[in-house]
Symmetry: C2
DNA sequence: TTGAAAGCGCTAACAA
DNA sequence: TTGTTAGCGCTTTCAA
């Protein structure tokens, strides 16, 4: 009986998380002093501080983020809403974002939206509910509810992968319109006139921007396909069934990778029989066969930039200015003169 | 003067976050009732409930996750520690993980470790500090401090992408050793004897397992390279400079993609002159040229399974059993009989 | 330099 | 069915 009670007490003691009070008791000081050791060590006598730090170590104390958050109003994390995690495209942005945020002692919570404004706003709400101090969203297609949400919560929010100084939130990204034109320009300079354009779903506004840039630009045929290597393959089969272009312009590198493979599978040589142009410059694009000509989008720099900008906004209330990053034409081996 | 004070009060009132008490006052009920409307609506009279819900809407109240966490001890998020976000490999796992977790009303915080146990433990500590209720780690290479940390915090933690029932935490993954052997088996069945093995950095234990499986398995030459398409290209150049195999076995599909490209760039046909075999089965692998033969690793299922397992552990204290997922040989067009 | 004490926004006994 | 109240673990005045 007595033993069992002792057991219980012991268990309870073990279950309970060590808290500030325990540390204070162990060090023989008040809770305020322990708190000070954490937040303004300079204001604590060195001897006291050491005693407290000893107690912290001894008790293996881990401060409670929730308790801290409730007092300081800070949770130290931000949320990122991306269309998908299923490809390299956002992975690279997120990798850099996470690194930049970590350097600023912020954490990153990731949520996927599948390019659906409804899902986006729902997940944004969930992030706000759990205390996100800022948000990163992709592109500029928002549900009205989303604007409501961030207005109400006065939530620092940055739109990435796009550029529009007039947009209701700061954008950090590149000029999708210009990038598409540059890609087309490369092909026309090589003498191509009949060009098939392969692109992903236009519910994605960056894709829409890229497509819009090319509309009315000459002898182009447009084909929507899935944003994947597979989509590229299927797109090429659709293209070759009809219109016979001398070049295929893919508005995303993933699509271009599949397109190039399929063109070769159909017995055509790249670029001798068919040029293939991409847009993104994924890490692997330079190492395909043949190496893919494309437009380099500075997504790594973008990730870093967004991390710094959002951190500045969240930490010091410095609302960032819209920031346009340059793209760059990368002519590699998959494009050649029109035969 | 009076006005300015009024202004201040107003400002203060605006700044202040709406809280449960405000809602209660607005609805003319106690805080407990408002709390009940959130947590057990059935126990509140419909009329009262409606009044409270009206007040919530009117005041645009968003409950504080921190305050909730401090009381319930729940933060409703888990952390995932992955080597990198820079490639499709983990993106697919995370995508499924995030979906599964969302279904269980849990959030996912992602941190990258670069396959460094030191970074891993540091980031794990950061995640625990901010209140992660569970952790997902990759493989089985842990710093001793890591085990300390999760033991002390009694933190539900699952190791993924690997399988070992004896490991100190539950594993959910596949048999890397067996998968590598299966890949080799496919090549030897086709008559290949001189085979070059290309693999990523062996500081990654899944890679190490795959390599170890093949050591002493015949006329193989091993080449370590970067875990990227570029690494695959470089690996092939190194291979072709010396030992002349009839097949290249890549222990990751990303490497295989680069290898295949480089083999063709060197003027060799795949698979007529050189077979190339992968291991992973990335979404794009089926759509390369030629389509890559590989071993399919069920990473999507794994992501889902891990989400459910970790949710069960976190929510209902059901520690999951180690779970082995099957891999599958996928013979496509990049492998053929030894010439 | 330190401590006492009043909250932060919420949940959960317990009472009514 | 509803209200009262005691905390959760911490930060932050205010005094000493």
């Amino acid at each position: 009986m007595i033993e069992s009670r002792a057991e219980q007490v012991k268990k309870t003691a073990m279950r309970k998380r060590v808290n500030l009070r325990d540390v204070a008791a162990d060090a023989g000081v008040s809770v305020a002093t322990v708190s000070r050791v954490m937040n303004s060590p300079a204001s604590v006598a060195p001897a006291t501080r050491e005693r407290v730090e000893g107690a912290m170590r001894r008790l293996q104390w881990v401060p409670s983020a929730a308790a801290r958050a409730i007092n300081s109003g800070r949770t130290r994390f931000v949320g990122a809403l991306v269309p998908t995690l299923d490809s390299d495209i956002f992975a690279r942005v997120l990798a850099n974002l996470e690194q930049g945020l970590t350097a600023q002692r912020l954490s990153l919570v990731v949520a996927t939206t599948d390019d659906d404004p409804k899902i986006e706003v729902a997940k944004a709400r969930a992030l706000v509910d759990i205390g996100a101090e800022g948000l990163i969203v992709s592109g500029m297609t928002r549900s009205p509810d989303f604007h409501d949400l961030i207005d109400r919560a006065r939530l620092p929010t940055i739109a990435i992968s796009c550029h529009d100084p007039e947009y209701s939130m700061p954008t950090i990204g590149y000029d999708n319109h210009g990038a598409a034109l540059a890609a087309l320009g490369h092909l026309t300079e090589l003498g191509h006139r009949r060009i098939a354009v392969l692109h992903g779903p236009v519910r994605n506004d960056r894709t829409r921007l890229r497509v819009a840039a090319l509309q009315g630009q000459g002898d182009l045929s447009f084909h929507e396909t899935a944003l994947s290597t597979k989509g590229g393959c299927e797109g090429v089969r659709a293209v070759l069934a009809g219109y016979r272009p001398s070049a295929i312009l893919c508005l995303s590198d993933v699509i271009a990778a599949g397109a190039m493979a399929e063109v070769q599978r159909q017995g055509l040589r790249v670029p001798a029989d068919m040029s293939v142009m991409g847009l993104d410059d994924l890490p692997g694009s330079a190492h395909l066969y043949p190496a893919l000509s494309t437009i380099h989008l500075p997504v790594s720099r973008m990730g870093r930039g967004v991390a710094d900008a959002l951190a500045g906004w969240v930490e010091r209330d410095e609302k960032p200015h819209p920031h346009l990053l340059d793209f760059e034409l990368i002519a590699r081996a998959s494009t050649g003169p029109c035969p």
